[in-house]
């Protein structure tokens, strides 16, 4: 069987290639052990393809007498490509999780940082404060205490103070036009004409708050819909909690909040980080769902394309031709010295005859 011959022939070819390359490798300054490693990897790949039985394979076939078998390092070489793949996946998931937590942290962080009296002192490390409800409680209380003290002054300055937070929050969205308006007295706003800066700030803040609320609602609806696909009770409970919760930013803008502010914030503290983490988790699941959807879409395409028996390699023959002739629509070919890949197996031949009809 030329398929069994393949193993021996390939073995000899590999040996020839290595032998002729040794000299060039030494001239190029590459280590000879590299060549040996290449040979091992090469043999390993060939064995993995299962195109034929090779002499270096551990399991002997029925009829082929095994030539001196070379120990192929199966487990280390297989483990090596798998481990980086697994590590990359883990890193991607970790980074996605961390990114979500950081954005949640960034949203909360600037509001305490707005304190003009510098109560909080040094900047807080990202990610940690959101998950520490006690710390968030303290900050909320201090924030409210300030607000009560500075209530008549907070509004116009609050608009100015909130601006950097907005600019930080909106950086990613690219809607960062507010700081650019500093220094101009009259600001043109769509639909309002030239108005004073304070009014412009208020209008813009209102618009941004509305847009934020809409986007928050949309994401909430999406996450709830996704949760509804899986569980029912948990999504309902989270739905009830969420409308009552207000961002600290919105609470600062809303003049009706004074004393109730700490209580609502406190009551919503624990669900808040959980809510955010759930959102992040859902976004991860969104990504996973999208991947799943994409994979479903991909499968029928693959099925359509792949009508052949073997795994991925097309059935192909590579050889040299002696003669190719045609009479009307009949073709006759005389071929030699080639290798044929059929059904995932390879065959080598010395001569081949072909008769085809077109």
């Amino acid at each position: 069987m030329s398929n069994q011959l393949v193993g021996e022939v390939y073995q000899r070819i590999i040996q020839d290639v290595i032998d002729t390359s040794v000299i060039d490798f030494e001239e190029a300054g590459v280590n000879a052990s590299t060549l040996e490693e290449l040979k091992q990897v090469w043999q390993q790949r060939l064995s993995d393809l299962h195109v034929a039985h090779f002499p270096w394979d551990p399991a002997p076939p029925e009829t082929v007498a095994p030539t001196p078998a070379q120990p192929a390092p199966t487990s280390p070489t297989k483990a090596q490509p798998q481990q980086p793949g697994i590590k990359q996946e883990a890193n991607a998931q970790n980074s996605a999780g961390i990114m979500g937590q950081n954005t949640g942290g960034v949203r909360i962080k600037p509001e305490p940082g707005l304190d003009p009296q510098g109560v909080y002192g040094p900047p807080v490390t990202p990610g940690n404060p959101t998950h520490n409800p006690a710390l968030a409680e303290q900050r909320a209380r201090q924030n409210v205490a300030q607000k009560i003290n500075m209530n008549p002054q907070v509004r116009p300055n609050g608009g100015g103070l909130v601006l950097p937070a907005l600019s930080q929050q909106r950086q990613q969205n690219g809607q960062n036009g507010i700081p650019q308006h500093d220094g101009a007295d009259d600001v043109p706003i769509e639909g309002y004409g030239n108005i004073s800066r304070d009014e412009a700030d208020r209008i813009l803040l209102r618009r941004i708050g509305a847009a934020e609320r809409e986007s928050a609602k949309a994401t909430e609806e999406l996450t709830n819909a996704l949760k509804g696909l899986k569980t029912t009770s948990s999504s309902k409970s989270s739905k009830k909690r969420r409308p009552r919760r207000q961002d600290a930013y919105e609470a600062a803008l809303d003049g009706t909040n004074s004393y109730p502010y700490p209580s609502t914030l406190l009551s919503s503290q624990t669900p808040r980080p959980v809510g955010i983490s759930q959102l992040d988790g859902d976004s991860d699941e969104d990504i996973a769902d999208e991947d799943a959807i994409n994979s479903d879409l991909d499968d029928p395409e693959d099925d359509e394309i792949d009508n052949e028996d073997e795994d991925e390699v097309p059935q192909i023959m590579l050889c040299m031709y002696d003669k190719v002739q045609r009479t009307k629509n009949k073709w006759k070919c005389v071929l030699k010295d080639g290798v044929l890949t059929i059904n995932g197996k390879e065959y080598v031949f010395h001569k081949a005859n072909g008769e085809y009809e077109w």
């Binding site: 398929n3 002729t20 590299t34 490693e37 990897v41 090469w42 097309p314 059929i342 001569k351």
Partner: protein, 86 residues
């Protein structure tokens, strides 16, 4: 050809590990081409015959390319006739 593709993959792996230079890789491929053709010319004894229908044919740069469908490939050694459709 599985031999050539697996050699190329192995070389790429070693290059990624920075164990080999590109110059050495090109050299290897040249050696492989020479060794492959030399070995296929010698050492082989079997004969095969192929019958089928031509979907299309091409002759460019001294290379014939046939696309054959419903081919029957016969290998002259102990295997006997075998049929493959594509």
């Amino acid at each position: 050809n599985s031999l050539g593709t697996s050699l190329a993959d192995s070389i790429d792996t070693l290059i990624q590990r920075n164990a080999m230079t590109e110059v050495a890789a090109n050299m290897l491929m040249q050696h492989f081409d020479r060794a492959m053709t030399a070995r296929l010319t010698t050492d082989l004894r079997s004969t095969i015959s192929i019958n089928g229908k031509i979907e299309n044919y091409r002759f460019c740069d001294e290379i014939w390319t046939f696309t054959i469908s419903d081919a029957i490939v016969k290998i002259s050694r102990a295997g006997g006739p075998r049929e493959s459709d594509s």
